[in-house]
């Protein structure tokens, strides 16, 4: 079998970037702030469904044409129309892409913000995990049965990436991979800065003891809502990129196993450590691709074993082993210090915190 190594590498980097966004989002929510969000699939799917809607309804309007119903009898002309626009009108394609990201981030963020207030009504925050797990699946089943969003269980195919107008498929993939990595880099930068700021100190305090944080004047409900808003917006953006990368929006992609994949990434990498989240995303992406390729190879050789399912067993085993032997992950959370520590150390040495 011939494997185009370069194309594989580009595909891997793209998958890694998208997984990194999901892992950074969950690490911020659970690793740093202690909110057990088991609704990652829900927030990622919000991005994907938004993509399905904007690329079939908004895109033609931006191009000055009438939108065609993407489902049923008009499926083919609708597909042709959006492919044509994406190929020939770069400004419209990129504009639609930016708008999709914005809309997805806003919807994801608002839903995350609203969901965080459920915590106030629950006796224990771990019940939130259940609410989100069930809520995500409920939304998925609704979308799968409701035609107007993404053509129910048929999904929407032929969603071209933002660089389809470049012409050369490989160049377009490289550009898209770079764009995805840039988003992952920005999310990493933001959450790393956040974790090392007074806000990070506040989040860790809320994570460790909510009652005491409240007694020290911190509005815990508002803080959690802010974190859910940010984390869910990042997850929704990853959903847009996920849908554009595979060129297809199907409700089957946003099942509970997606949520579990992201949890494995964060637990494997190290809770509360953004670098750990990146490492976890990388390892899981590699394993994911490796098992997929092995499955294809084994099927070609005529083996009856459906190796794809081994992936889930493997992830389960990894999770159990990590929780048993390295519960803090491969890269445990560092006792990183807010700048106050440097200032105080400096002031104790020189008598002045502001000296260089």
């Amino acid at each position: 079998m011939n494997i185009d190594l370069f194309a594989t590498l580009i595909a891997l980097l793209t998958f890694f970037g998208i997984a990194a966004l999901m892992a950074i989002s969950l690490n911020l929510e659970y690793g740093v702030a202690g909110i057990p969000n088991f609704g990652q699939a829900l927030f990622v799917s919000i991005g994907a469904y938004t993509t399905g809607v904007t690329y079939t309804r908004l895109l033609p309007l931006l191009a000055g044409q009438e939108a065609i119903n993407p489902c049923g009898a008009t499926l083919a002309p609708a597909l042709q129309l959006r492919s044509e626009i994406m190929r020939t009108m770069p400004a419209v394609g990129l504009g639609n892409f930016v708008l999709t990201l914005l809309i997805a981030a806003v919807i994801g963020g608002v839903v995350g913000y609203a969901v965080s207030y459920i915590i106030l009504r629950l006796k224990q925050e771990w019940y939130l995990a259940l609410v989100l797990l069930v809520g995500g699946e409920t939304v998925r089943i609704f979308v799968r049965g409701y035609q107007p969003i993404v053509c129910a269980n048929n999904g929407i195919s032929g969603i071209a990436g933002p660089f389809a107008w470049v012409g050369n498929t490989q160049t377009a993939s490289i550009l898209f991979a770079l764009l995805v990595l840039a988003f992952a880099g920005a999310a990493y930068w933001y959450s790393e800065k956040l974790a090392r700021s007074p806000y990070g100190r506040l989040l860790k305090a809320v994570r460790e003891n909510e009652q005491v944080a409240r007694s020290l004047g911190k509005n815990v409900a508002r803080i959690r809502a802010q974190v859910m808003l940010i984390g869910s917006a990042i997850a929704a953006i990853s959903g847009v990129l996920f849908a554009l990368n595979i060129g297809f929006v199907s409700t089957n992609d946003y099942v509970v196993t997606l949520t579990l994949d992201v949890w494995v990434m964060v637990v494997l990498g190290g809770l509360g450590n953004n670098r750990g989240a990146l490492l976890g995303a990388l390892l899981i992406t590699l394993m994911d691709r490796a098992t997929a390729i092995t499955a294809i190879q084994l099927n070609r050789l005529g083996t009856d074993i459906e190796f794809n399912y081994f992936r889930y067993i493997l992830f389960g085993v990894i999770l159990l082993l990590m929780l048993r032997y390295r519960p803090r992950g491969l890269l445990p959370e560092t006792r990183f210090t807010t700048p106050a520590h440097q200032y105080l150390a400096r002031s104790q040495e020189t008598g002045d915190a502001r000296s260089p």
């Binding site: 930068w189 933001y190 800065k193 956040l194 700021s197 007074p198 806000y199 990070g200 100190r201 506040l202 860790k204 305090a205 460790e208 003891n209 009652q211 005491v212 944080a213 409240r214 007694s215 020290l216 004047g217 911190k218 509005n219 815990v220 802010q226 974190v227 940010i230 006792r335 210090t337 807010t338 700048p339 106050a340 520590h341 200032y343 105080l344 150390a345 002031s347 104790q348 915190a353 502001r354």
Partner: protein, 249 residues
Amino acid sequence: MLEVHEIRKDFGGLRALDSVSLTVPAGQIVGLIGPNGSGKSTLLSVIAGMQPPTAGRILFDGEDITHAAPDTIFQLGLARGFQDPSLFFQMTVLDNVMLPVKRQRGEHPWYAPWRRFWNRQEMDNAVRAGDRLAQVKLHTQFDRRASDLSGGQMKLLEIARCTMGSPKLILLDEPTAGVAPALAYDIFRQIETLRQETGTTFLIVEHRLDLLFDFVDSVYVMHMGNVLAHGKPAEIETNLDVREVYFGD
């Protein structure tokens, strides 16, 4: 400073507080004593907003805080220490004292990534935190985990942490519980120093009466959810009712 009017607190069928009234004048150290289960800690929780009262009214600095949330009450200038040291044990000593500072610009998700918005404030707060830690002799241990401190140091850190929010009134629940006698005296001296230097008012639940009576201006005695007596330490020591329920005489 603090006026508690006929506070009642029921837990199901159990009446923990039955019409408790007390007054804490500004700048004073007031003691709150009573046998176990007399309702002292419940009263502190109710005042600090951790548990809503069933009936009654609480005024702090003239403002009604009866049903205010704990964070609002802290923002108004009323801080509370816990019976078991309730530190953020995974965080450093310094981060523990930095947290309660009010109106931190870096505690906002939009400003936090950009250090220039909060750098100067963080520096000033760090220096202030260093001074507070020096007062309780913890300044050399500022970058240790709070969980590494001894029981007495934890109590001192908790008091230092309370003061970082510049409170007008601090409620302390057994500040010397589980602390060696020498350090226990030290803790009360710190409280006295704080009162003199910053004018902070204190309401303190304490079982070490010898220690408490050396420092307080007046004492309330609670028994079975009621205030049994109130007066200066010397009066309380000779009060027959108090001796009966508290000292078993």
